[in-house]
């Protein structure tokens, strides 16, 4: 991959990150209410309040506060949580791995489901499986992940109780992942009972996140598969005696993947954003559920840290998706 392209994309991402920093900073300065007044008990003296304001830098001018804030963030210091009395950076580092595992699992489920549905629809084109898949994908895309999560809880947690609907692990399992990646670390340490329990707990949240994306992937991939199958080379392959399934799997699929991959990349950030609410609904201890608690507790440094983490994650994901696209599709490299 040409290094110039990488640099260009990086140069494009940098101002966005600065903008994000400005928005995060100003958003919470606009919040009514004095965060210090909420931190401190009613018996505090004026001196106590002044000391605390100085400690958080709240006694300086806004530009000064922003400069200090930007300097700290760039140095990796996200400040101290007011409600949890801990370093925001380490709180985020503790919680982020679970969110990443959930998002990765959801991405895996979404692409697998989308791929299978698209191939099935293209293979049985014009017959009832295609019509059924079209109808289902249309319906699935229209309903947001929030409602799929709740419907999943009702269906597989209550009516047909086969899956757990709260928490990350069974209560009787004692396991602390020092890296935070419970699934990966339990796998590496050979605690397969923990892996199984975690996957069981993550399955429904991941499905809820995955469903809308899976339906979109299915629709786009099916369209480009049918396009590919209408090309001359596909007809020639059929004339040479290859079955429709062989042409579809061996030739058409590879040619049709690019638009679906682009879509997956674009939608990946929505999927990551969806974890905030999904974690809340399923009681999962990720960064998203911590974000909602932080808002309810009006914990400004923690909110800032989490919003910033998500934004940075989005910018990085978009960057990687762009680069992956350029790498996969030679036509984009020259641009």
């Amino acid at each position: 991959m040409p290094i110039g392209l990488v640099l260009r994309r990086l140069a494009w991402a940098a101002p966005t990150l600065v903008g994000v920093l400005v928005v995060v900073f100003s958003l919470l300065r606009l919040a009514p209410g004095d965060p210090v007044a909420m931190m401190i008990g009613p018996g505090a003296t004026q001196d106590d309040i002044r000391t605390l304001r100085a400690l958080y830098g709240l006694d300086r001018s806004l530009p000064e506060q922003f400069a200090l804030y930007a300097r700290d963030v760039l140095a990796g210091d996200l400040g101290r949580s007011i409600s949890l009395k801990e370093n925001v950076g380490s709180l985020v580092a503790e919680r982020l791995p679970m969110t990443l595992e959930l998002a990765a699992l959801a991405l895996l489920v979404a692409t697998a489901m989308g791929l299978v549905a698209a191939l099935a629809a293209a293979l049985w084109r014009g017959r009832w499986p295609e019509r059924a898949i079209d109808a289902v994908t249309g319906f699935v895309t229209a309903i947001p992940d929030f409602l799929w999560a709740l419907a999943g809880i009702l269906a597989f947690g209550v009516l047909l109780p086969v899956l757990p609907v709260f928490g990350l692990l069974d209560a009787d399992l004692a396991f602390t992942a020092s890296s935070g990646f419970v699934v990966l670390e339990s796998l590496a340490r050979g605690r397969l009972d923990v892996t199984a329990s975690a996957l069981e707990h993550l399955l429904m949240p991941a499905l809820a996140l995955a469903l809308p994306l899976a339906a979109m992937v299915a629709r786009v991939l099916k369209a480009s598969l049918l396009d590919a199958m209408a090309q001359d080379w596909a007809t020639i392959a059929r004339v040479k005696g290859f079955s429709r399934r062989q042409v579809l799997l061996r030739h058409a699929l590879r040619n049709a993947l690019s638009p679906a991959l682009t879509l997956t990349g674009v939608q990946l950030t929505f999927l990551i954003g969806g974890t905030v609410l999904i974690e809340r609904i399923f009681g999962l201890p990720g960064i998203g559920s911590m974000a909602i608690d932080a808002v309810i507790n009006r914990d400004l440094p923690l909110i800032q840290g989490i919003v910033l983490t998500f934004a940075a994650l989005f910018v990085v994901v978009n960057l990687l998706v762009d680069l992956a696209n350029a790498w996969l599709d030679p036509r984009q490299r020259s641009r």
Partner: protein, 275 residues
């Protein structure tokens, strides 16, 4: 011009929702806040131990769920209409300016959209409401502040395309200023697109309102909202699953209805699709 069955479904759902929102005091069989502890956690009337006077059952405080659902249509519809319109106005203004004027307008708006899209929408909504304060109008403002980008992106592309067409050149030639051309000539041409976008946005706005009440950041808890019902339902899902199921169905119906209405409008307003 004939409407598709999907469009009729959208119209029917929208009318039903509007009827509930406007006529809640007359349609709801009970006071939505009235507690009847002797009749708490009743299942819907068709279940074995349901009671006929509570068609959809009651919650843990003995409040009638049907009445709460009907009253919940009111905040849902207010947020859907007002939120979508406000987001539409802000996004259209910026999108038109960026697409038609180009130059630094385009640079600023495009960059703003980029920055905005770097935040997860749900998180942004929650943080915004925490900043502006809770309440129905805060939710409306939050929705406009988050989802203006949807309008800005589409309208920008459309305005760019339109600005190269002959009618724009003609309007400029007869002496209309750029702003007047934009307002009098280009805007009417993007209106059908806007109408569709607003309808689709209504589906999104209802869900955002439900999410915010689910998290406890929308209107005060004594006013019945679908999200509030969902939150109670999630809490007692094993005891009273219908308390979760019914508002989920109501919300899904509203989303599907607004989507169908948007698609139906696009089909009948867009001459290319309508053929």
């Amino acid at each position: 011009m004939s409407l598709s069955p999907r469009a009729w479904f959208g119209i029917a759902v929208s009318l039903l929702l509007a009827a509930c929102a406007v006529g809640a005091p007359w349609l709801a069989p009970h006071d939505p806040l009235e507690q009847d502890l002797l009749a708490s956690s009743l299942p819907p009337a068709w279940a074995a131990d349901g009671e006929a006077r509570f068609l959809f059952g009651t919650d843990s405080l003995g409040r009638d769920i049907l009445s709460r659902l009907v009253w919940g249509a009111r905040p849902a519809l207010i947020v859907a209409v007002a939120g979508a319109l406000l987001a539409g106005v802000v996004g259209t203004f910026l999108g038109l300016a960026a697409g038609f004027f180009g130059g630094w307008w385009d640079a600023v708006v495009s960059r703003l959209v980029d920055v905005w899209m770097s935040f997860p929408a749900v998180l942004l909504a929650i943080v915004l409401v925490a900043v502006i304060g809770t309440g129905l109008w805060s939710v409306v403002i939050a929705i406009a502040l988050i989802d203006w980008t949807r309008f800005a992106r589409v309208v920008r592309a459309e305005a760019m395309q339109q600005s190269r067409l002959n009618y724009v050149v003609a309007a400029r030639t007869i002496g209309l200023s750029r702003a007047a051309t934009l307002a009098r000539e280009v805007l009417p041409n993007v209106l059908p697109l806007l109408l569709t976008l607003v309808t689709l946005e209504m589906g999104i706005a209802v869900v955002v309102e439900a999410i915010l009440s689910f998290v406890g950041l929308s209107v005060s808890s004594d006013m019945p909202t679908w999200g509030g019902l969902i939150q109670e339902g999630r809490l007692y899902v094993n005891q009273t699953p219908w308390l979760l199921g019914l508002p989920v169905v109501a919300l899904a119906l509203a989303v599907l209805g607004f989507n169908a209405l948007g698609d139906g409008l696009r089909e009948s307003l867009d001459p290319v699709v309508a053929r």
